[in-house]
């Protein structure tokens, strides 16, 4: 292996070692490379390899054939639906919030505050977040009790907080701040001159949004929605804290096939579901980065 930058160092630092330099510099990177080989690449290889092997270690596609089981198809569709709904709702509300921030003072306190709060809340998830909603609108939550006292029983039909609609509501808590974080830069790229140009050509607010700002922001909005979709699709902790039974989302099915808590212990099948999830998430992420590139053509 030849090392491009090294000769400069040798000459200018005047290394006391005499004679030819032995190409041993790469040894410095070995500990790191060994570590990631064992704990990052090996797990990846185990997943990919294991997904095409049966219990006896011979090549098979049976794990992938199992993906057509009714409950897996249903779970996949559930997860896609949940992710799409929370992505769209999160993107819409998040865009409104981002707009409210963007039209304010750039150096103002409100902007700085909402941005850093969004940064923190976008990370808030998992068990704690589920508990926060249980404490609010759970069957013993103060808001639920207050509403029930005022003859508005929100659980008259079903205890939906512990079903997919409840999960969707809870997901919005991190999807909206995430949207604010990824969409605000695009809104900041909108120049007031464009509005003035529209007006000088006789266009009103509707024309401005329909023909100028809308088309410019559309790729950014779509891209952000895809990011939110991928974010919801691979989530596990929050939904697992809310729903213990039935495992309605795909990440819970992976966990189930892995541990064998429910149904049978099927490590090969867990790997096949994992591969399915990675393929979907990767496809969405690639689309996101394509749209992001298109956005940056105008709004930077």
């Amino acid at each position: 292996m030849t090392i491009a930058g090294a000769p400069a160092i040798t000459t200018s630092a005047g290394r006391p070692v005499g004679g030819r330099r032995l190409p041993l510099d790469w040894l410095g990177a070995v500990p790191f490379l060994v570590y990631v080989a064992i704990f990052l690449f090996l797990p990846t290889a185990i997943i990919v390899g294991g997904s095409v092997l049966d219990a006896n270690g011979s090549l098979t596609l049976v794990n992938f054939a199992h993906l057509s089981r009714d409950y897996i198809v249903k779970t996949t569709l559930n997860t896609i639906g949940l992710s799409a709904v929370t992505a769209l709702a999160g993107a819409t509300f998040g865009a409104l919030l981002a707009y409210a921030i963007a039209v304010g003072n750039r150096e103002g306190l409100v902007r700085r505050l909402t941005l850093s709060v969004s940064g923190v809340l976008a990370q808030f998830g998992g068990v704690t977040l589920a508990f926060a909603f249980i404490a609010t609108i759970g069957p013993a939550g103060f808001l639920y009790l207050w509403l029930a006292e005022h003859h508005a029983d929100i659980y008259a039909h079903s205890l939906w907080l512990f079903e997919l609609p409840g999960v969707a509501l809870v997901y919005l808590y991190f999807q909206i701040p995430l949207m604010v974080l990824v969409f605000l830069p695009a809104l900041d790229g909108i120049k007031p001159q464009w509005r003035e140009a529209t007006e000088s050509l006789g266009g009103g607010t509707w024309h401005y949004w329909r023909y100028v700002a809308g088309p410019l922001l559309a790729p950014a909005f779509l891209g952000a929605t895809l990011l939110l979709f991928a974010n919801a699709f691979s989530a596990y902790a929050t939904v697992n804290a809310l729903i213990n039974q039935g495992q309605p989302v795909i990440s819970q099915q992976i966990s189930g096939a892995l541990s064998g808590e429910v149904g049978t212990f099927e490590p090969g099948f867990a790997k096949a579901i994992a591969v399915e999830m990675v393929i979907i998430v990767t496809a969405v992420t690639v689309l996101y980065s394509l749209l992001q590139r298109r956005t940056s053509r105008w709004l930077q």
Binding site: G5, F32, P43, I47, G125, T128, T136, P185, V278
Partner: protein
């Protein structure tokens, strides 16, 4: 004409102000009420009794919970130190001696971002099984997996720190004055990127304390797993601990954004992606 125009703009500005106020109030309610509700819930008295801190005071009487809190704090410390020891010397060395390897290291470090935690755990499962029988099944072995989990954030943070100083000149100057590699590392590089190191340490701590997916699926009871289990038995205590861990994590992150103030963009990316892993 000018007056009419000013009138139109005045109305528009007023509408915009009303819109902003409505949006901010609605968002404020949606985001603050659940956190307030946790505090309210954890201080409830039994029946009609007045507010009490009983749930908070009884945290110490749950041995499993105390063990989980201790384990998570230890995991945070071990993960942070292991990550720094692994990453900082490698990144400096690669910068100086193996610049051609730099893009590869970057690619490797950012790779965990594209793998959801629930997927990674499927691949880690057999490895931990093997380690459990042949080596150790202590909960602290989780820190090995957590180092992989924190790689992307810490890499970005450290990379920004290293990019801001002239590693090569500093090293050459120190070496020409007779410093050994350890001295260069410890007395030249580390002090110069101390804020980047602090940053990545904060990110690691916040991430490890919030981690649930990997621990739960490898059947280890870390803080989040224990909180979830306790929630089924004693909601008050478990929500009290959840609030405490939340406030701690928020505190860490507020500190982080304070140290990060000059670099808004980078911070956004980091935060947005920490969150993906944490929840994954």
């Amino acid at each position: 004409m000018a007056a009419v125009r000013r009138g139109v703009q005045g109305t528009r500005r007023l509408k915009l102000q009303v819109f902003r106020i409505i949006v901010f109030v609605a968002a404020g309610l949606f985001f603050l009420v659940p956190i307030g509700a946790m505090v309210e819930f954890s201080t409830r008295g039994v029946g009609d009794q007045p507010r009490t801190l009983a749930a908070w005071q009884s945290i110490g009487t749950y041995p499993d919970l105390v063990a989980a809190i201790t384990a998570s704090l230890e995991l945070a410390a071990i993960t942070t130190i292991a990550m720094l020891v692994l990453l900082v010397p490698t990144m400096v060395w690669v910068r100086l001696k193996l610049p051609r390897l730099n893009p590869i290291i970057e690619f490797i470090c950012l790779l965990p971002l594209t793998i959801p935690a629930i997927v990674l755990v499927v691949g880690l499962f057999p490895i931990y099984n093997w380690m459990g029988t042949n080596f150790s099944d202590s909960i602290l072995t989780l820190s090995i997996a957590y180092v992989v989990l924190v790689l992307p954030y810490d890499y970005r943070s450290l990379e920004a720190g290293l990019a801001a100083i002239d590693v090569k000149t500093l090293t050459e100057a120190a070496r020409s004055l007779g410093a050994g590699w350890f001295t260069v590392m410890w007395r030249i590089i580390v002090p110069n990127i101390s804020s980047a190191i602090l940053n990545s340490a904060f990110l690691s701590v916040a991430l490890v304390l919030g981690e649930y997916t990997i621990a739960n699926n490898l059947l280890y009871n870390n803080l989040q797993v224990e909180i979830a289990m306790l929630g089924r038995a004693n909601a008050g205590v478990s929500i009290a601990v959840a609030v405490a861990s939340l406030l701690f994590a928020f505190g860490v992150l507020v500190l982080l954004s304070f140290f990060n103030r000059g670099r808004g963009r980078l911070q956004l990316v980091e935060l947005q992606q920490v969150m993906r892993t944490e929840r994954g």
